[in-house]
Point group: C2
Chain length 621, copies 2
């Protein structure tokens, strides 16, 4: 219970958000209007000035001010939780046969049913709440109540206990609720002993909670039914949405409409002085102050929720632009090529036809509106496309409808002859796309965008490569462009200094940090130059193929390899060893200079292209 | 009006989303239950099978199926729009004195007021709607109605007209509404002629709309009151929120609670057969099908909204993770340095103390929950920080509370001796941070992150640079590290081949694409190497200072400059001209080789560091 004379707010912690909570607390502390509930002596006996305010985030951080550890009885705030348990126990359809979900426009304790449906108007009035209690599974009233107590405890993240004195008093004086119980029995809404249902209801209302407990219960609702502290699921996602829906229209007694307009948060209050409010996905709010207004809602509680909603802009209809900007970047493979270093012929084809393959990077949560934007943008280009990358790595949640829409889009594009590379290392799209069959006309799944882009380039090259010009995949050393331009004499002198080696796929050719190991001319296969990212994973800087070279700059300047070179396929290379290179330096410096100038030019252009590709893409400098 | 025998859905367009709309249309078309409104002959005379379904995005794209161009009277869907105009004309406080916002639990045409407040329960029942009509500004009924007509037309984006036959019939038979008008007059809720208010109400209900119009009206509400097609503001942001709030609890006659649970969209229906529903920020839905259920709502309309909400996951309490993940990346300046190339001494200081300056890149819309995460993460590090970059360039909307929180955070950090660089080229934070006073203890505003990071590095260097070791800012050519290591003879021979030049701040030293212009040793000042990004703006690749060099690789390999070099400050450089370089190549190849090896090593390391800084940062490969 609250300390007497408690007036100075006790901030639980410091910081920007804690100060905002404290400011609101101080502002509302000034109002001492309203009156304690007095229908039982226990409620009239609490410290009337007690006041606590907590704000909890959906990930479980609680900011609090005031008597956050003072106990009070949960009272009507229990209603949505027992309703939730009834929904879980019986299923929404069975519960809907007994309890409507319409705002009543009548006092919460009215002894009446809807004249047309002959059901309680909603689960937030006493008739609906007692019905919900009657629907809880259990052999007897002890087991039923224990299941309710455990359910609430799951939301709060600690074992709650009943206030025996309050229960005894409620049970002794609750004639009106007994009348409601018998009315429900007479209309067949309750099948079982109405006394048992009413007794269960009295017990649930008498559970002791603190403002901090209530904040975590709110945070659990905000977090889709998953307690963010204990990581225990208290309620399914679908039922959480349903309970919050009913709280939206019926939670605040007869002030529900005004509450939606001025606070705009699903909420529930109790005559014990508590209020719980929820911003789905984001925030839970709990207030305790026992003086009530004429509707039975805590005066300071309403004021604090209103002030927090206003200051923090928590109204649930508050519009943001999220979900609208699903496209993070869009470009053709001509604009941002893959890191596979292409031959001159290939580059010419891609320069002309590269706009037939486009990359769409998506981000944010992919709900309908965002997916619609993305699909619309892609459909507008679809007629001209032969291949497409959709990169989902930056996407958070992918809703079912977005999966369906992307899947449909893929069918549509496949029918038009365009294949789709989905970059989806975390399987956000699930089973819908086969990553196995390379001939699937719909496309493939990739774990990185670079490889997906390369695959799209290959499709464009297949379609548009001039006839009779197969890609060069293997060459004798004499034909390597690094030597081909030399005079026949010089070429002959150099060629015999090279050693031809075959390197197995996956093998490292030169490690990062290794000293100069040679000058390499690629005669067949692919070599991948990689670097380690901030994510501690290895990324491709560039891939090189037959006719290209590497190792020239380390060899020239005597520095270690700064990136790793690894055989991407089985590779055949011609290597000039450091020893031969040094001999060459002494005996024929001008030959060496000529060779190095050729090679360095190519290496520098490669490095430059890599800088450009990385820098250009993100638009993020 | 609808064509007779219209059964085959006319898809307005093709594509993934159009197909979803068509699917839902087909599904709902099958249900021909319900009855036409028949209280006036005009409503009973419409084509009962007519059916149209439109979905409009908040940016104005309309997907439609069926009789989307068939006219029908707006009827009760007019209520939220006249209420909106009344709020705009009189202000929310004055309107609240006349109309409550509580769900009524009574039929929409009840001749009664709330027994306690003696006001109409809400603006969606006839008593509230007639009161709203009476509050519209205007000299006479003609002007009042014309203002209403123009208001609706602003939402629809075209000039709407009244159906004279329906109006005449309503006016002839609307006894109940006249009774309500006189009741309102007798209670003083209407001050003026009740006949005029009722007549205005009849006229507004008789405005002809199409399903497409209704979709755009919904899209305008979804788009915060701004018509996304005409770009005209139909209603303020705050009033749009209020109107949607009231629609949430009171829009669907007596089925509001069930609607919130199963559809979960603010909505309004009319006995003409229309339904309008809104997902704030995202989607507007419109349906027309005149057969009504027992509540007076369109049978197919309710079914279509329910089905769309379920398939597209449009329920407004549907939780996403948006707003929770405000931090896009966080790292220290030791991990990702600025692109200013530091001296070895400086690098040593930054390696040891660089974790005292951190960069936080934020993204998404910055509402309270996201701002709380960001502020919390920064506060957790605050004790150890001397400088901080907060990069807002990727952030969308910044809410007022987020501005306040960041501002407070900056005060908090300033008090602890940590200065903050806000990267905010679009002034999202507005006036709150001075970008002018370089000594402001709170920090500065920057337009790019790289410069902000450099500023933070400077703070750390100022604090931790070993005493008596000022940064080297100027040197004679003999001391330049590129020459310092040569033998005295070689150094002397080379030095005289260099020419010392002074270059004014901002001047270009070497353009991208220019042929080799010389080998440059920086003796004083800073040179910035830049490249052009995909955004067609110029970005810094690296800045070089005294003791560093550039131009060596173009000189060595005879290629053009791939990036531009520009004087960042006034600069003093020593230049070896191409002519002298070529002479050197012939006369003393081994000297040239030695020089080039030294320089190329440095250049290569710089290029590598730049690749790494760019690649590492985004985490986006």
């Amino acid at each position: 219970m609250a300390e007497p004379e408690q007036q100075v707010p006790q901030a639980v912690d410091s910081g920007v958000v804690a100060r905002i909570v404290t400011d609101v607390y101080r502002l509302c502390l000034a109002d001492d209007s309203g009156a304690l509930a007095d229908y039982i002596p226990e409620l009239a006996a609490v410290q009337p000035d007690s006041f606590a305010l907590c704000l909890a985030t959906a990930d479980g951080r609680v900011y609090g001010c005031g008597d956050v550890a003072a106990s009070f009885t949960i009272q009507s705030i229990s209603k949505p939780f027992t309703y939730a348990l009834a929904l879980a126990d019986r299923g929404p359809a069975a519960v809907a046969e007994r309890i409507d979900v319409e705002p009543s426009g009548e006092p919460f304790n009215e002894i009446s049913l809807d004249p047309v449906t002959e059901r309680p108007r909603n689960p937030m009035i006493n008739a609906g709440a007692i019905t919900a209690a009657s629907l809880i599974t259990g052999h007897d009233r002890t087991e039923k109540f224990e299941r309710i107590r455990r359910c609430y405890s799951g939301f709060a993240g600690r074992e709650l206990t009943m206030n025996a004195a309050v229960y005894a008093s409620e049970a002794r004086t609750g004639f009106r609720n007994r009348a409601i119980g018998y009315m429900l029995r007479s209309f067949g809404i309750i099948d079982s002993d109405p006394d048992e249902a009413v007794d269960t209801y009295f017990r649930q209302c008498s559970l002791d909670i603190t403002c901090r407990d209530l904040a975590l219960m709110a945070a659990t609702l905000a977090n889709n039914g998953l307690n963010p502290v204990t990581r225990e699921r208290a309620l399914s996602v679908a039922l959480t949405e349903q309970v919050l829906s009913v709280m939206t229209t019926c939670g605040m007694y007869n002030a529900a409409g005004d509450w939606v307009t001025t606070v705009g948060l699903p909420a529930k209050s109790g005559v014990g002085g508590g209020i719980l409010a929820v911003l789905p996905g984001q925030i839970g709010i709990a207030v305790y102050s026992p003086r009530l207004d004429k509707h039975g809602n805590s005066v300071r509680g309403v004021a604090a929720c209103r002030e927090l909603s206003k200051r923090l802009e928590l109204h649930f209809l508050h519009v943001t632009r999220s979900g609208r900007t699903a496209i993070r970047a869009a470009y053709s493979v001509a604009e941002v090529p893959s890191r596979l270093q292409r031959t001159t012929d290939e580059l010419a084809v891609l320069a002309e036809h590269g706009d037939r393959a486009r990359v769409y990077e998506l981000h944010g949560d992919l709900l309908f509106a965002g997916a619609e934007r993305a699909v619309r943008a892609i459909e507008e280009q679809a007629g001209a496309l032969e291949a497409l990358v959709i990169d989902l790595r930056r996407v958070g949640e992918v809703s079912e409808i977005a999966v369906h829409m992307l899947d449909e889009l893929q069918n549509e594009l496949a029918a038009a002859g365009c294949r789709v590379a989905i970059v989806d290392p975390d399987s956000k799209m699930g089973h819908l796309v086969s990553s196995l069959d390379p001939n699937d006309p719909r496309g493939r799944v990739f774990i990185d965008r670079d490889t997906a882009t390369e695959w799209c380039e290959d499709i464009v090259l297949d379609h548009h490569r001039p006839a009779g010009e197969p890609a060069c995949t293997s060459m004798p050393i004499e034909d390597h462009p690094a030597l081909a331009a030399l005079s026949p004499d010089n070429r002959a002198r150099l060629t015999k200094d090279f050693e031809v080696r075959t390197i197995a796929r996956g093998e490292v050719i030169a490690r990062r940090g290794s000293t100069r190991s040679g000058l390499y001319l690629i005669l067949e296969g692919r070599v991948r130059i990689t670097f380690e990212g901030a994510d501690e994973r290895t990324h491709r800087l560039v891939s090189l193929s037959a006719g290209m070279s590497f190792g020239e700059i380390p060899m020239l300047v005597g520095t270690p390899f700064v990136n790793e070179a690894r055989a991407e396929t089985s590779v055949r290379v011609a290597v000039l060893s450091p020893q031969r290179f040094d001999v060459l330096t002494e005996k024929a410096p001008e030959l060496k200079l000529a060779l190095l100038e050729r090679l360095a030019a190519g290496a520098y252009a490669q490095m430059d292209a890599a800088v450009r590709a990385i820098a250009v893409r993100g638009g993020d400098y």
